[in-house]
Symmetry: C2
Subunit: 429 residues, 2 copies
C-alpha cells in the first residue's frame, strides 16, 4: 500500500522549521520526504494537501481510556473524594470485557484530536491489547503487579508477547497506581518484576499535596524519592503529574533521565495544582504530556493540554515569555513518544512509522499564516485535524471514521457497559 | 422563510433542563418550540437533528476582531510590552477599510466556534458595521470619544442609526480603551456623550496589577472606582477583565448592576492574572465572558474560555467544587447577551431572535451522554458545532460556510492588509 501526500507543509518536529515537500507512506512507514516522488509511483492513493500541514500525531502519555464511562458522572469534586467515593466503587464492578468496549470510545476521540498513540494505565491488559489491535490504535500500557489479577508469570508473558513483536501496535511497561495505594507486598512484587524484565517503571506521583504529606508521614520522605530509593526506576520510566516535586525529587528525575508526564487539564479541574514546568524545563528535564482520563479532564485533546500548560506556566511565573510555544509541541509529540517507548514514531523522517496527522490551515483560527507553530499551540484546535493516520492507515478523515467497526456499535456497547456499571454500583450501596 | 429543526434536544438556557422537542424558525425569530409543529407547515427546509442539541449561540462579550492581523506576531510577550511595542505601532498604520477586511476573518472563526454575536472594541465604527451587516454577524461595538477620529456629532449619529433600528444586526455602546490611555479631555468627552445618549459605558479595567498601581498614583484610587466616581457608569455598562478588583470595586459593580466581562485565556496568556470569579459569583455579580482579541488569546473560542474559567477558578480556590458548570454556560451565552444589549437573543424561546447553534452529541467527546451540561463545559469543543444560525440564517453547517462572499477572497484580502501593515510598520522604525 503506497500513499502520496502531495504539496504539504511539513513540520517534522526534528526542529521548528516547516518545509514544503511531498511525503510517501509505504505500508506502515514513511518511505520518502522530498520534492521528487516519481520513483515511488504508482500510488494506491494520492492526497492533495494544498499546503496544509503534516506533522507527527500527538502521543497522549497518560490516560485511563476506559474511564469514559465516568465522564460527566462526578464533575466538580476534589481528587480524593472523587477517587474513593466515585471511581473506586464503580471500578469494583468492572469486568475485563468492559475495558475492551470502553477503550474504543476513547480511541475514537483520540482520532478526532490527532492523537495517534496512548499510554494507558488501567486494568485488564489483554482486553486493552485486543481493543488496541482491533481498532488500529497504537498504545503502550502499564501492567500492574497485582497478585490477584495478574500473577507474575502472566505479566512476564504479556510483556514479552508485545515488546518482542516489532510489528505489534502494543507496547508494555510495568507500573502501579500510586505509592498511596501500594502496600509493601506490592512494592516487592513490582521490584521483582522490574528487575526480571528490566522494564521502565511508571506511576502517579505528587498529584496532590495531601498525597505528598501522607507519604512523608508513612515513609519519612516524598513519594518520588521513596520510589526511587526503593529501586523501581532502575531501568528508567517516569511519573504522571509531578505537581509538587521538591528540588531533590526534580534532580533525581533529571539525573536519571526519568519522564515527568504533565497533565495540566486534569490537575486544574481537580484543583490539584500547577506543575512547575518552567523549573523542569530550565533544568533540562524530560517533559512529556498527557490528558489523564476522561473522568477528570474531561476532553481527550492535546491542543487543550498544550494551551493550558503554556498559559498556566505564564500565570504561575507571572511571565508571558515563560516556555517557548515549540517546546509544548515537543512535549505533546516527540517527548511523549520517547516516554512511551515509541522512538520509531517520534518525528517525520524516512524509515519512521507513519503516525501522521494533517492540520487544516485554511480554517480561520490558523489565519493569517504569520506563525504556524505558535498558532498550533495558542489558537489551534482539534477541529483543525482533518486526517489521522496510524501505522500507515488512515483511520479518520474529514470528520469521518474508517474502521472495521461502525460508530453506532461502539457507542451502543459502551452505553450498555456504562448503564450496567451504574446499576451494579447503586445496588451495592 | 421557515425552517424546522426536528427531533432535537434543546437547552433553552432559561434553566439547566434539556427538553426533547422541535423548533420552528420563521424569518429571523423562533416561532415555536414544542411537539406539534404541523400548523407551521410547509417549511422551506426541514433539518433532522437526530437528538443533537440546539442551544443559544455563544456571545463573545469582549473582542478586538480586527486584530487577527497580529495573530502569532508577538506571542510570549507581557501585556505592556506587547501593547506599546507591537500593537500600538502596527495600529498607527491601520486604515478604516482594513478593519472591514480583517473583521471578516474573525467572523468566520466565530461561526466555527458557535459564536453568534461579538462585542467589538476597535476603531472605525462604520467599517465594523459594514462588515457585520454584509457578513451577517450580529455585533455590538463601542464607539470611542476620540476627538480626531470621531467628533461628537458622528458618535451621536452612529449611535442612533443602529440602536434605533430594531432590525439592524448592529448595536452601539460608548467606551474608551482604558483609564491609562485616556486623558482628562477624553474623560470629559466620554462623560458628555454618555449623558447625551444615556448609553451604558464599557472599558478595560484592572487587567494588570501595573495598571491599578499607576492609576492609584495618578488619581489616588483604583480604576473601577475612579471611573465610577467620574460618573461614566451612570447608565450602566461594565468592564473587560476585572482581574484585580478591590472588594469596594466589586461592591460598586454589584450594586450598580455592572458587568464583569471575564477573558480568562487572554489573562493567562499575557500572564495578567486570574479574575476571582468565585468571589464575584458568590456576590451575585453579573459575569459575562469574552475571548479578547486574536493577538492575545489567540483562538476565538468560547469552549476554551469556559474550560479555562472553570479550571482556573478551581485551582485558585483549591476547590474542585467551585462554580457549577452550568454557570459558565450562562456567562458565555445569556449573561454576555445581556451585557451586549441583546436581550432578544439570550435564550431559546418563542419570539426571541433565531441565533442558534447545533452541537453534535454523536462525537466521541460527548459520549456517553451522562451529563450534557458538564460535557459542554469540560469536554465540549468547537468541533462539536455543526450548525451556526444568526438572525434566522444558517451561515455555517457541517464545516462549510454559506456566505455572500467566498472564503478565499476573505483570506486574500486580509493577507494583503496584514502584509501592508507589516511593511508600513517596519518602514517607520
Amino acid at each position: 500500500m503506497k500513499i502520496l501526500f502531495k504539496n504539504a507543509r511539513i513540520l517534522t518536529m526534528k526542529d521548528e522549521n516547516i518545509i514544503f515537500a511531498n511525503l510517501v507512506v509505504k505500508d506502515n512507514r514513511i518511505a520518502y520526504i522530498g520534492k521528487d516522488y516519481s520513483k515511488y509511483a504508482p500510488f494506491d492513493r494520492e492526497i492533495e494537501c494544498n499546503g496544509n500541514l503534516l506533522m507527527p500525531g500527538f502521543k497522549n502519555a497518560h490516560a485511563h481510556s476506559a474511564m469514559v464511562f465516568l465522564r460527566g458522572k462526578a464533575d466538580d469534586v476534589p481528587l480524593q473524594e472523587w477517587l474513593f467515593d466515585v471511581v473506586f466503587p464503580h471500578e469494583a464492578n468492572l469486568q475485563p470485557k468492559d475495558v475492551y468496549y470502553l477503550n474504543k470510545v476513547a480511541y475514537l476521540e483520540y482520532l478526532t484530536s490527532g492523537i495517534t498513540a496512548v499510554f494507558d494505565h488501567y486494568f485488564y491488559p489483554s482486553e486493552m491489547a485486543r481493543a488496541s489491535e482491533e481498532f488500529g490504535m497504537r498504545s503502550t500500557f502499564l501492567v500492574m503487579p497485582d497478585e490477584t489479577k495478574y500473577p507474575m508469570q502472566y505479566i512476564s508473558d504479556v510483556y514479552h508477547k508485545y515488546n518482542d513483536n516489532k510489528d505489534s501496535l502494543v507496547r508494555v511497561r510495568i507500573g502501579f497506581h500510586a505509592e498511596y495505594t501500594a502496600d509493601d507486598a506490592t512494592f516487592d512484587r513490582a521490584m521483582r518484576i522490574v528487575e526480571e524484565l528490566k522494564s521502565p517503571f511508571f506511576t502517579h506521583i505528587s498529584e496532590t499535596e495531601k498525597e505528598v504529606r501522607e507519604c512523608i508521614e508513612r515513609h519519612g520522605m516524598e513519594p518520588a524519592k521513596y520510589i526511587y530509593e526503593k529501586g523501581l526506576f532502575k531501568y528508567g520510566g517516569g511519573a504522571y503529574h509531578c505537581v509538587h516535586f521538591t528540588d531533590e525529587e526534580a534532580r533525581i528525575f533529571k539525573e536519571n533521565g526519568l519522564y515527568v508526564v504533565t497533565c495540566p487539564c486534569s490537575n486544574a479541574k481537580l484543583a490539584s495544582g500547577v506543575a512547575p514546568l518552567m523549573k523542569y524545563y530550565g533544568m533540562g528535564m524530560n517533559i512529556a504530556m498527557g490528558t489523564d482520563g476522561p473522568a477528570s479532564n474531561n476532553g481527550l485533546d492535546m491542543f487543550k493540554e498544550m494551551y493550558l500548560a503554556a498559559s498556566l506556566n505564564k500565570l504561575e511565573c507571572k511571565d508571558a515569555k515563560a516556555i517557548p510555544a515549540f517546546e509544548f509541541l515537543k512535549m505533546a509529540t516527540v517527548n511523549s513518544a520517547k516516554a512511551m517507548g515509541l522512538d520509531e514514531a517520534d518525528v517525520l523522517e524516512e524509515g519512521k512509522l507513519a503516525d501522521i496527522i494533517m492540520i487544516d490551515l485554511t480554517q480561520p483560527n490558523m489565519q493569517p499564516l504569520n506563525n504556524i507553530v505558535t498558532n498550533l499551540v495558542y489558537s489551534g484546535n482539534k477541529q483543525n485535524v482533518v486526517l489521522t493516520m496510524i501505522d500507515g492507515k488512515i483511520l479518520y478523515e474529514n470528520g469521518k471514521f474508517f474502521l472495521k467497526e461502525n460508530l453506532e456499535d461502539i457507542y451502543r456497547n459502551a452505553q450498555i457497559v456504562t448503564d450496567r456499571l451504574e446499576r451494579d454500583t447503586k445496588n451495592k450501596k
